[in-house]
């Protein structure tokens, strides 16, 4: 009975820890993203720092002796520390711009981001790692389970369940209702409360006389806290936001901060203009109600609107994806349109902007011809029944997988199917004047070739930024300013910010010919496809001549210059380019080297890992009685590869899901929660089946199953891009994610039991393996999302995982076979009793 209570206490502490960890992770990631100005590379860095500190904390705690204080006391003290440092970490991140951002508005380099990530995550994450081991220690039943890691296994399952609950809570409820400081404070408090509840019950009769006074005192304090804390935390949150933005862009007035499921929105004012930041990244600037000449203020929007609309001789129905708040809708409506469908993903953005828009922009949004749609643009294009004369993709550059979906061959095909006969697709992309940057040239040529793979004609306009227009009709696109000016004047348009003369400024023959030459010629060299950006001859042939000559050119190197859902190359080049701009030094070198990497060179690594695992560190008996031996390295390798492959597969599933389903935040949150739920389920089932006994053959079998599952995903994922029913996609990816989680969950108790049996120290094994698995997960997330998926395809994540698990399986099998040959005892005598599947 007492043992049962002890188990329960350990489980509740781990559940609490999982919930709080997940909430804290989301909070710190979101806040860090603000500090790093929305650079999504920072997510990988923060997660890596997170896992490193949790792993270190866990590994350190697993070595601590029980002598000094009891686990319960340590658990409570550690939880109180987390309670204090979680809100403090938020404040630290918001204060950080003052000492980390040297010039307002300037971006940080990856080394700076890595260092900041380590500093930011250290106080909380180390403590969370310690908390895991302490929870496991409390849950370990005295005597019976010592040395088996049973407490750690249960804690692992309970923590995963807490992760799932925390993920759902923070994304669906907390982030919308509460501010970050309040959430952090509440989460820390919950952890402390959970830890306090884990204290050993006092002997009956002890302190009974004080029970009602203590209850009354606790109730009074709780009431006082409820009354005083929310306003105080709210004020603290506002104060720290002001502090943050004063560091990021001093002398701008912070008008408001609006929570959004897509990232916190901050609105800043200077003069009569308003700038909108999401997750710390500048989205756009608009004219405000008091702006005297909004058209001049928002002139870039006017240029884009008129350049795009005049590419069609008679546009009537237009679909505009993103960017409408900065004046393009107002300018577009100057053309004789029948209908303008404006898709804006984030409704919170519109709500934040609506009272701050110039009346002319606000009136345009109310125009009866305008239909405002709050949905994912890709999803809308996939399912729309309408046909459009012009579709304009006005979303940020493809720096993330979610944004890349608007620049793929598959999306272009979907958009083409929504175009009326002779319809035109237009999209914008950042560029530089002479396109000397190698990744910049790769990216923009990739966009050109991807468009050219779908449309008969592609025309690049402008230089900074680049406007790419594409169509199948021969008589639509105008490469000369005179035709565009004629169309503009015929429509009787009068815009204070744009006149027909502007076309001469923006559509200049010679630069256009040079841009066309650069984009169309680059990416065709079989010998060196990612060589330096092609520079045109000083006076290239006319665009018409170049267009006609395209079929005669060498074929495009599709493996490196076609951006697809399954291989988001444009995302890779954009990230490389951004790192080049931040002068990231070595990081840029990694980006440059990876595409040319010969994967065969990785074979020695794949072979060296099992060899190393077999000989180092020294082998120990698997169990004191059996006399069979198993190198711990083989178990470690299994933990790392499981962490790696499940995270890599998770990345692959999320990428594929997004491209099929569209970017729907809640669905992504649900998918992640499903993974964590699967993890909890798998760990629970595994623990129940194994009962904490070492099952090395079963572990090897699991690695083999994981390898097969990964290979099956690698083969099957490309077929999912053809899915047309979003709900079917949701179910399919949900099920696959749950399955991934289950397999990951099953692994941990198996590895812990094996390692505990070799070391005789269950909790230490649990903590150590927890850290190792996190390391593998961290590697899997970073390598798969940054390198494998974009360069070798999303399906390649499956192949890499399959190889990793196959290697781990082979290592275990070799080790066990070697042990048997050495006369290490019967395979199923004791260690693996019942380890084979039931027949």
């Amino acid at each position: 009975m007492r043992n049962e209570r002890q188990k329960q206490r350990g489980l509740s502490a781990a559940l609490c820890l999982g919930l709080v960890s997940q909430v804290a992770q989301v909070l710190l990631l979101r806040e860090s993203l603000m500090l790093f100005q929305g650079n999504e590379l920072s997510i990988g860095l923060v997660l890596a720092a997170w896992m490193a500190w949790v792993g270190i904390g866990s590994a350190c705690a697993s070595r601590w002796r029980r002598r000094i204080v009891t686990a319960e006391h340590l658990l409570l003290a550690n939880a109180i520390w987390v309670w204090a440092v979680l809100p403090a970490s938020i404040l630290l991140i918001r204060w950080a711009p003052r000492w980390i951002v040297t010039v307002p508005g300037s971006s940080l380099t990856p080394p700076e981001m890595a260092l900041a990530s380590l500093v930011i995550t250290a106080p909380a994450c180390f403590a969370l790692g310690v908390q895991f081991v302490l929870s496991a220690r409390i849950g370990t039943v005295d005597g019976a389970a010592q040395g088996t890691g049973g407490g750690a296994e249960r804690s692992y399952a309970a923590e995963a369940a807490g992760n799932a609950i925390g993920g759902v809570l923070v994304t669906t409820v907390l982030a919308r209702q509460w501010n970050a400081v309040a959430i952090a404070f509440a989460a820390g408090g919950l952890l402390a409360l959970g830890a306090a509840a884990c204290g050993r019950p006092r002997p009956a009769g002890a302190g009974q006389g004080w029970r009602w006074e203590r209850s009354a005192l606790a109730a009074g304090l709780a009431l006082l806290a409820l009354l005083l804390l929310p306003p105080a935390l709210h004020r603290l949150n506002r104060w720290s936001h002001r502090l943050q933005w004063a560091g990021l862009v001093p002398r701008y007035e912070l008008v408001r901060v609006v929570p959004s499921k897509h990232g916190s929105i901050a609105v800043l004012q200077q003069d009569a203009t308003f700038s909108y930041y999401q997750s710390g990244h500048l989205l756009f600037t608009t004219a405000g109600p008091a702006t005297k000449r909004p058209e001049l203020e928002e002139q870039d929007a006017a240029v884009l609107a008129h350049l795009a609309l005049c590419q069609h001789p008679e546009p009537r129905r237009v679909l505009w994806i993103g960017g409408g708040l900065r004046g393009v809708v107002r300018e577009a409506l100057r053309h004789p349109l029948e209908r303008l469908d404006y898709v804006e993903l984030d409704a919170a953005l519109l709500e934040a902007a609506r009272p701050l828009l110039h009346p002319s922009t606000a009136a345009a949004l109310e125009d009866p011809r305008v239909r405002l749609l709050h949905t994912d643009g890709r999803l809308f294009v996939k399912g729309a029944a309408e046909r459009y004369d012009l579709i304009v993709v006005d979303v940020p550059d493809p720096a993330t997988a979610a944004l890349n979906r608007f620049y793929t061959v598959e999306f272009f095909r979907e958009a083409r199917s929504r175009l009326a006969p002779g319809g035109v697709l237009a999209l914008t992309a950042d560029s530089t004047a002479e396109r000397h940057s190698r990744p910049g040239a790769h990216r923009n040529s990739t966009l050109f070739h991807s468009l050219a793979a779908v449309f008969a004609r592609v025309l690049p306009l402008g230089e900074q930024p680049l406007l790419l227009v594409a169509t199948d009709a021969a008589d639509r696109l105008a490469a000369d300013s005179e035709t565009l000016a004629e169309r503009y004047l015929q429509r009787g348009i009068r815009s204070p910010a744009f006149a027909a003369t502007h076309f001469r400024q923006h559509v200049r023959p010679l630069p256009m010919r040079r841009v066309f030459w650069s984009l169309s010629q680059h990416g065709r060299s079989a010998a060196d496809p990612l060589g330096a950006a092609a520079q045109p001859p000083l006076m290239p042939p006319s665009i018409e001549a170049q267009q006609q000559a395209l079929p005669e050119l060498a074929p495009v190197q599709a493996a490196r210059f076609l951006n697809t859902d399954m291989k988001p190359l444009a995302m890779y080049y954009t990230q490389w380019w951004r790192n080049e701009q931040t002068r990231a030094g070595r990081a840029v070198g990694w980006f440059a080297t990876a595409p040319g990497l010969d994967l065969r060179r990785l074979l020695p690594v794949a072979l060296a890992a099992p060899l190393l695992a077999l000989v180092w560190p020294r082998r120990r008996p698997l169990s004191p009685t059996a006399g069979r031996v198993l190198p711990r390295g083989a178990v470690w390798l299994a933990a790392v590869t499981t962490g790696f492959s499940t995270m890599s597969l998770q990345v692959a599933l999320l990428f594929a899901f997004q491209s099929v389903y569209g970017f729907v935040y809640e669905a992504i949150g649900a998918i992640i929660a499903l993974f964590m739920a699967g993890l909890a389920l798998g760990a629970g089932v595994s623990h129940r089946l194994c009962g904490g006994r070492p099952r090395p053959w079963r572990l090897a079998l699991l690695q083999a199953v994981l390898a097969l599952y990964a290979a099956a995903l690698a083969v099957g994922l490309p077929a999912t891009t053809g899915l047309r029913q979003p709900h079917l996609a949701l179910w399919l990816f949900g099920a696959l994610t749950l399955l991934s989680g289950v397999m990951n969950g099953v692994d941990y108790p198996l590895t812990t039991a094996c390692l505990a049996a070799t070391s005789g120290r269950g909790e230490r094994a649990g903590g150590w393996l927890y850290g190792l698995e996190l390391l593998g997960a961290c590697l899997g997330a970073a390598i798969s999302s940054v390198w494998i998926a974009p360069l070798w395809g999303i399906d390649a994540c499956g192949w890499f995982s399959a190889v990793a698990n196959a290697v781990a399986c082979a290592t275990l099998v070799l080790a066990l076979a070697r042990s048997r040959l050495a006369g290490g005892g019967a395979p199923n005598a004791q260690d693996d009793a019942g380890s084979m599947p039931e027949r």
Binding site: R251, L282, L296, T432, L510, G531, P537, A545
Partner: protein, 392 residues
């Protein structure tokens, strides 16, 4: 498609010499005119094709011994880099090689384009004319808002560059019917030897020469090049030493010295300041800058107050509000400057040139496109007052 040839010179004079014909053929101009299809690969036979890593070290006279064994000092810019064998200067394009101080970008322009002169920007210099602009890799500064960072802030071996002698440049400019050659868009201060040789050839051919630069130059090289120039537009990036240190990676004083030297030498001079929100847009700082321009360079010096757009290392800073630019212009006009322009807001009336006496618009522009010129021999058609500038 054919209308472009009127100003690119594709249907230029028939009496071209053999060199010009070969060059134009190589550049694809003839191909374009004859409708020949584009080439499959930028092959080596294409004389004007850009190549990577083809460095041609040429000895520079702007190095001097330091007195220490094996150390040379580059005296081109105020950094005065002291270089040992194999070491390269801050500009990335000058180094000591085989005991000699060399430039690595001589006759290796990475940017060659013909543009309206207004784009360089020169608003008081032969309006409506065209200039062949060229620049190489390298820069002695490190501006966080550099527009050509992928060329200027890059080592020459990483940038594709053309190989063009001074004679080739002049021939190309003539073929493009350009009236001037502009050393612009990058930083001419780091390829002064090339500027010198091209400017000499251009003078011989009757072409004007324009310099658009950060002005980060030492006095001696500046004085040596100035006689070969017809006009200069110098970026006065702020009137704040700290801004130069933090955002530009240099120092203000040498730039001010360059400006006063050029003014003293009687060169046509225009000044450009990119107004960056919160960094250099404070009205008092703008006023101080304008007072200095008025007192040291003269009230007729055209000042371009240019709009900042988020880019490069300052990609997270919003663009300059038009009202900030207008306020800065008002401050400049109040200070007494006569020609203050707002840049990069095409269509703004402050792009036009007004007569300093009667206020009539004498040059109407949209961006760098000149719409109308109402000047006769450099005088306002309405009142006859002289407008400062080079008009022929």
């Amino acid at each position: 498609m054919t209308k472009q040839s009127t100003h690119t010179g594709l249907q230029g004079p028939r009496g071209m010499n053999r060199r010009a014909f070969l060059l134009r053929s190589a550049l694809g101009a003839c191909g374009g005119a004859l409708g020949r299809p584009a080439r499959a690969e930028p092959g080596p036979e294409l004389g004007g094709a850009a190549r990577l890593g083809d460095l041609r070290p040429v000895t520079s006279r702007w190095f001097e011994p330091t007195g220490r064994d094996g150390v040379l000092r580059c005296v081109l810019c105020p950094w005065r880099c002291e270089l040992r064998e194999g070491q390269r200067g801050r500009c990335r394009v000058r180094e000591q090689r085989n005991g000699r101080g060399v430039t690595l970008v001589y006759e290796r322009p990475a940017l060659v384009r013909d543009d309206p002169i207004e784009r360089l920007p020169f608003f008081h210099f032969t309006p409506g004319g065209r200039a062949l602009a060229l620049s190489t890799a390298g820069c002695s500064l490190d501006c966080k808002f550099c527009e050509v960072w992928d060329m200027a802030l890059t080592a020459p071996e990483d940038v594709l560059a053309y190989t063009m002698s001074a004679a080739d440049v002049v021939t190309l400019a003539q073929a493009a019917e350009a009236s001037a050659i502009g050393f612009a868009f990058g930083e001419p201060a780091v390829f002064l030897e090339y500027v010198e040789s091209v400017a000499k050839r251009a003078r011989e051919a009757g072409l004007k020469t324009l310099l658009q630069s950060s002005g980060y130059l030492e006095d001696a090289p500046l004085r040596s090049i100035a006689p070969l120039l017809d006009g200069a537009n110098i970026d006065l990036k702020a009137f704040d030493e700290e801004f130069y240190e933090r955002v530009v990676g240099g120092s203000l004083k040498p730039v001010l010295r360059t400006l006063t030297t050029l003014r003293g030498l009687g060169l046509h001079l225009e000044v450009t300041t990119v107004l960056i929100p919160t960094l250099n847009d404070a009205p008092e700082q703008v006023a101080a800058l304008c007072r200095w321009v008025r007192d040291e360079l003269g009230r007729d010096t055209p000042l371009h107050v240019s709009r900042f757009y988020p880019l490069y290392r300052l990609a997270n800073l919003p663009r300059t509000p038009v009202e900030t630019l207008e306020r800065a212009r008002e401050v400049a006009l109040e200070t007494g400057l006569r020609h203050v322009y707002i840049g990069k807001v095409p269509g703004h009336e402050a792009e036009n040139t007004a007569c300093p006496d009667c206020g009539a618009i004498v040059i109407r522009r949209v961006g760098f496109i000149v719409d109308e010129v109402r000047l006769r021999d450099g005088r306002c058609e309405a009142c006859g007052a002289a407008v400062a500038g080079v008009w022929k």
